[in-house]
């Protein structure tokens, strides 16, 4: 297997007296879906927040493409080519999909108007429509506010935004949690297509059948440490759940 693209070693993080992460490790390679699973309170969200720049770790090291990095802000993550689909989607409901896709990265008109901050709305609309078409997102009314879209459509906007800007790693925190059967199938399809383009996808999910279906590798967190890693093809759901619940000892899983 290739070198890990993003690697976390011995990450620690405490909130007051609570030790959320007690030396957690994690790695993801280019062009794979790595599922990060664990029971509630295992430290998944904390680890993802640290790796996407919304939380600072207390200790441990993060390596990106082999060199040690500090990801102190979401913008720093973005500059490394890391995008995140947050569980709450982080969309501006009163803005349209194009405005959300380009939030914080607005295109301005060329020349003097651009220097005055005039937006190139037509170009943003065009590229949004192209991104949606490429990703197979069917949205006929791209001029409507995101607030008027269905849950699945909103999820698609958030995933499309990450897929549009990501160049290395995308974190997806419970991307199908709020969706119906057809809509989740669609988002899963989208995740596969992002992976097939060579991006590393980190999937955080409670939905074990979905993890087994999508993931190439599975990393299991329990009580703030990684307890097991599996190649998804060589393992069963029972094994993964055993590791999650502690029926299996520390790092006893077949290391991938």
């Amino acid at each position: 297997m290739s070198e890990p693209l993003l690697e976390a070693n011995g990450i620690t993080k405490s909130f007051g007296g609570v030790r959320a992460l007690r030396g957690a490790d994690f790695a993801v390679h280019p062009g794979e879906v790595a599922a990060l699973v664990g029971d509630n309170g295992a430290g998944k969200s904390t680890l993802v927040k640290i790796l996407s720049g919304t939380l600072a770790p207390d200790g441990g090291e993060i390596r990106f493409e082999g060199r040690q990095v500090a990801i102190e802000h979401p913008v720093a993550a973005r500059e490394l080519g890391i995008e995140t689909v947050y569980q709450d989607l982080a969309l501006a409901p009163e803005l349209d999909p194009a405005a959300n896709l380009f939030l914080g990265r607005e295109l301005v008109r060329p020349g003097l108007l651009g220097r005055l901050g005039f937006l190139d709305k037509a170009a943003m609309r065009r590229r949004t429509n192209k991104a949606f078409a490429d990703l197979g997102v069917g949205l006929q009314d791209t001029g409507a506010m995101v607030a008027n879209l269905s849950g699945g459509q909103r999820q698609s906007v958030a995933v499309s935004r990450a897929a549009t800007w990501v160049s290395k790693v995308v974190f997806m925190d419970e991307p199908t949690a709020a969706l119906g059967v057809v809509q989740s199938a669609h988002v899963r399809d989208l995740i596969r297509r992002v992976r097939d383009s060579g991006i590393a996808v980190v999937l955080i999910s409670h939905n074990m059948p979905e993890v087994m279906e999508l993931a190439d590798r599975i990393e299991v967190l329990r009580l703030g440490v990684r307890v097991a890693r599996y190649q998804a093809a060589d393992t069963t759901m029972e094994q993964v759940i055993a590791a999650m619940t502690g029926a299996l000892g520390s790092e006893e899983g077949e290391v991938a």
């Binding site: 009163e94 005039f118 197979g136 160049s167 383009s197």
Partner: protein
């Protein structure tokens, strides 16, 4: 990084959920019709038509409209700044006091320099604008860095600005404003349009373009819509909010100068309800108090509804106090409609 990444195209571009709408004229029309701004504009047209039908001779004259516009100019300038603030889901109660404070500073500076020249007027203008801007920055810094809610911050600076103005003047209005200011800017006209109306129109036009077409406007909407999402998208939310409150203060300072020019005195006691009038105008114009939605053109409509009602009632011989009753009722209806739309959207979220 600005290049859109190529991702293998979908084999079956199926829909996530069916949505019976198009990008065509129909969809645009439907959206327009559900906007509060459209309705309040129709109400404004109805009011104008009503008064014109009842008293065409007195109401529908150039002279009368010129007066209405000149009277509304100061409020319009303040309301443009207020529109930006309310779209960020903030509020600025201090505008009337900041207007008075800036007027006092401007008048004092012009008096100190003395004479009738444009030099003194220019110095007064700069001083007034800087005073307004300073109060705005104070508001913005307290809201963002000290995390005190805008309602409380601007209620505090409302008292502080007015109190300071009273301390500086000893409670007596400053007179002796250069005559040139009142005779030109105050009552002068350019091609039949009063200077104060031209100033207010220019502020409105620049405000409307900035809000709807620039990155500054886009950030204003984004922060009011979801400040956390804006922050995660790399927008410096605190800095932008400080700029928005500074803009509101700056425009209050400009309105203070316009007030000086029109009345030749500081009118310390005359602006205690300007803040509420501006908020009412902004909300009447379809801007949502919850943030993320609003337009400057809507605010323009919202300023003229009370102004024309007042004027029409005077002409009709109806007690002008009815204007306050009518505007109050329309305001509540406007916010009620906004609420209904929000609730419909929340239902939509659970689809």
């Amino acid at each position: 990084m600005s290049e859109t990444r190529e991702v293998p195209p979908a084999e079956v571009p199926d829909e996530v959920a069916p949505e019976p709408a198009g990008n065509g004229l129909r969809a645009v029309l439907r959206r327009r019709l559900t906007e509060t701004t459209t309705w309040t504009f129709l109400i404004l047209l109805g009011i104008v038509a009503g008064f014109a039908a009842l008293r065409f001779q007195q109401f529908a004259t150039v002279f009368n409209f010129r007066n209405i516009a000149a009277d509304a100019s100061g409020l319009l300038i303040i309301a443009v700044g207020m529109t930006f603030v309310i779209i960020t889901s903030g509020i600025d109660l201090s505008v009337g006091s900041v207007l008075v404070f800036s007027g006092v500073i401007a008048a004092k500076v012009m008096l100190a320099i003395g004479g009738e020249g444009w030099g003194a007027i220019g110095a007064g203008l700069v001083a007034g604008l800087v005073a307004g801007l300073a109060w705005g920055v104070v508001n913005g810094v307290l809201v963002t860095k000290a995390r005190v809610p805008p309602l409380i911050v601007t209620l505090g600076t409302l008292g502080m600005a007015l109190g300071s103005a009273l301390l500086i003047t000893g409670g007596i209005d400053v007179r002796g404003v250069p005559l040139q200011l009142t005779t030109t800017i105050g009552i002068g006209q350019l091609g039949g349009v009063p200077y104060v109306v031209i100033i207010a129109a220019a502020v409105t036009a620049v405000g409307a373009v900035t809000l709807s077409m620039t990155r500054f406007g886009r950030y204003t909407y984004a922060i009011g819509s979801n400040a956390e999402a804006a922050r995660r998208a790399g927008i410096d939310v605190d800095r932008h909010l400080i700029k928005v409150y500074a803009l509101s203060g700056l425009l209050a300072g400009l309105a203070g100068m316009v007030s000086l020019a029109r009345f030749a005195t500081t009118t310390i006691g005359g602006h205690s309800t300007d803040n509420l009038a501006a908020i009412a105008a902004v909300v009447l114009g379809g801007t949502s108090l919850f943030g993320g939605i609003g337009t400057v053109l809507g605010t323009l409509v919202g300023v003229f509804i009370p102004a024309i009602l007042q004027n029409g009632f005077v002409i009709l011989g109806v007690q002008p106090f009815w204007q306050q009753v009518a505007v109050g009722a329309v305001l509540i209806v406007a916010v009620y409609i906004d609420q209904l739309k929000r609730r419909a959207q929340e239902r939509g979220e659970r689809r």
